[in-house]
């Protein structure tokens, strides 16, 4: 469904991602693992078109490499960005409305908003509150719901566990697992390799802007010293 070939991302003079290639098949959950500075967020930003990149990105059979962000969202890609990036001055509901910014079918959109407010009762209770008053875990739920407001074919999750307490992290991963069970294709970017591997069908290990290993959770599990470090086994 998503194919990336020789993706290069530069921030000014610094090249953060040095030509990586990977693929995410329909209905699967693929994770991109790696330590800080590996180029994970740069990759996600390039996939969405938020930062410039070179290389070829094909999605659903079409080349999206040169499309603007809106067009990629409309094609069915959606992201829950790193650090959640919820709009703290907007209400919970307005955040969800914003998630559907590229959609024009109002009734269906309103139904989706109602659906997410029901799915996460805590968000429903706080629909009129500024989203900045939510806890970290609630904000992450909102960020993911917001990303799903576009009814994406693929959901890109950039470090959903970042800065959350272990118990909340488990809740977030349970949520991702449910989404996967519903058939949503997921590209998960994580530092928390243990949790991510548990629900991934396939994983790529990224370090210093290059893919250094790939495989299923069984084969990748303890394949390298870096992997051991990431999973916290070493």
């Amino acid at each position: 469904m998503l194919n990336v070939e020789n993706l290069i991302v530069s921030h000014g003079p610094i090249e953060a991602v040095h030509g990586i290639s990977f693929a995410v098949d329909k209905g699967r959950c693929v994770s991109l693992l790696g330590p800080n500075g590996a180029g994970k967020t740069s990759t996600i930003s390039a996939l969405m078109g938020v930062v410039k990149s070179s290389g070829r990105i094909t999605f659903d059979g079409a080349d999206v490499s040169s499309l603007p962000v809106e067009a990629r969202v409309q094609a069915g890609m959606s992201v829950a960005p790193e650090g959640r990036r919820i709009f703290s001055n907007l209400s919970v509901e307005e955040n969800l409305v914003l998630g559907g910014a590229t959609r024009s079918d109002r009734t269906a959109k309103d139904a989706d908003i109602a659906h997410w407010l029901e799915t996460f009762p805590i968000l429903g209770e706080r629909r009129d509150q500024p989203a900045g008053t939510l806890s970290g875990g609630e904000q992450q739920m909102l960020a993911i719901s917001r990303a799903l407001m576009t009814r994406p074919k693929i959901l890109l999750l950039d470090e959903p566990s970042l800065g959350l307490a272990p118990k909340i992290v488990s809740q977030i991963f349970q949520m991702i697992e449910r989404l996967k069970a519903q058939g949503i294709t997921i590209l998960l970017v994580e530092q928390n390799a243990t949790q991510a591997l548990r629900l991934s069908d396939y994983a790529y290990l990224l370090n210093n802007g290059r893919i250094v290993a790939e495989g299923t959770k069984e084969t990748l599990g303890q394949s390298s010293a870096l992997m051991a470090e990431l999973t916290g086994i070493a």
């Binding site: 938020v50 962000v69 709009f87 001055n89 509901e93 307005e94 914003l98 910014a101 590229t102």
Partner: protein
Amino acid sequence: MILNPSQKRGLVGAAILAAVLITIGLVVTYFGSRYQLRLVYSAYVNLLVVLAMQVFMGNARLTNLSHSAFMGIGAYVAAICVTPVTVKSISLPDAPWGLNAFSLDPVSSALLAIAITAVLALIVGLFVVRLTGSGVTIFSLAVLVIVHSVFLYRTDIFKGNQAFFGIPQVFSLTSIVILSVFVVFIVRLFRESRWGIQLRACADDEVGAAAMGVNIRRLRLIAWVLSAILLAVAGIAYAYFLGTISARPFYFNHVFLTLAMLILGGMRTVTGAVLGTLLISFGLECVRWLETGPVLLGIDLPEVLGLSGIALGTVIVLTMALRPGGIMGDQEIEDLVLKKQE
């Protein structure tokens, strides 16, 4: 059109504000002196300006200082179109392009003025939306100076600092009260619309909003042009009531006055825009009275020239220092009213 809950609340809020504006209008119409009526009229013109500013500044959270210029463009275009040929042949004998050889009815003149202001705003806006933060502020200041200079030195068209007279006085206090009620609803519904939400999201986190597929430049352009259209309406209302305009009222003093109104009330909300305008309009009259050195409680106060300028500056300084979000912050009027009921 189906409205979502926050838009329904927006309508309630706008209705409350409209009721306040209508009440003030009625009281002044029936009980006010001619002088008070003029004061309230000019306060309502400023209200239209401040509401128009709220559309761009409040939602995009960027500072625009050229608003009075767009108000001036609206006022002058309408004035040039609507003033009878007999008057223009005397007041604008050297006008180019046959500007003194035609005249239109007030409605066509107003529509033409709005259209021309919108086109000019669109052209300027294409540059504005490429800028961020202080870039917008400086750019808009330059626009203000350019427009003012044209008004001032193309005396064959605009008469500069001399009065452009002979504009038919077709507006009354009633007209502007109705107009301001309309504009309150437009501005409030814009704030709660999809566009308004997206603009406010961009102000919160530009990169985050872009990642959601929000086209920031297009949205800012929409808000910029809508703001200019409402400013043109304010300018037209000003010209159609007074019958006389000149370049001075569309320059820095007016920019500063309306900015103080918006900042005091709080630019993020429509309620703030209305509240700030009413408070400063009323407060400034009190200050002007003090300026003349009246006798208060048996004390003969000295004459203090320039007190109103000091007062306005102080309002901005104190608001920015103590309550940067203005009096209302993020609260609209219905938030206060509905909360009390719960």
